[in-house]
Symmetry: C2
Subunit: 81 residues, 2 copies
């Protein structure tokens, strides 16, 4: 049995929020001749290793996701365990 | 039926490559009192919308993942469809 747990927090821009990195990549793809791509949206994720004996982690992961890992004004996050 | 297909490319630093963003976030978590986290690794992902009638997309997605979306020297990528 693993002595650690893991969670992944995925952070993406809310719908309607401009994604300059995605737009730039999309333009580059077109310039490179890849014209089958309709759009590109970028996001980030964080792999968290957690102590096996940690308590109350669901709550703590939600807290750090909204306080530190994402900007709730413009970003959404999802947690995968 | 959707008129578009979607693929997500996840890009992460190779094992052994220093992740300053992850290290900084881990330190911040500890300073905030969250000491149940053993480590944090950061990564990015790209959601690609693809034309429904596009051909040969598996190959093209592999190409753009290694040429544009990731740096093969220090990063790995995985594709999810």
């Amino acid at each position: 049995m693993s002595t650690q747990n893991k969670a992944v927090v995925y952070v993406r821009l809310k719908e309607g929020v401009l994604d300059p990195q995605g737009v730039t990549i999309h333009k580059s793809l077109q310039q490179m001749g890849y014209d089958d791509f309709v759009s590109v949206r970028s996001g980030k994720f964080f792999e968290l290793e957690i102590k096996a004996d940690a308590a109350d982690m669901d709550k703590k992961i939600e807290e750090v996701s909204s306080k530190l890992l994402s900007n709730p004004v413009i970003e959404n996050y999802t947690v995968e365990k």
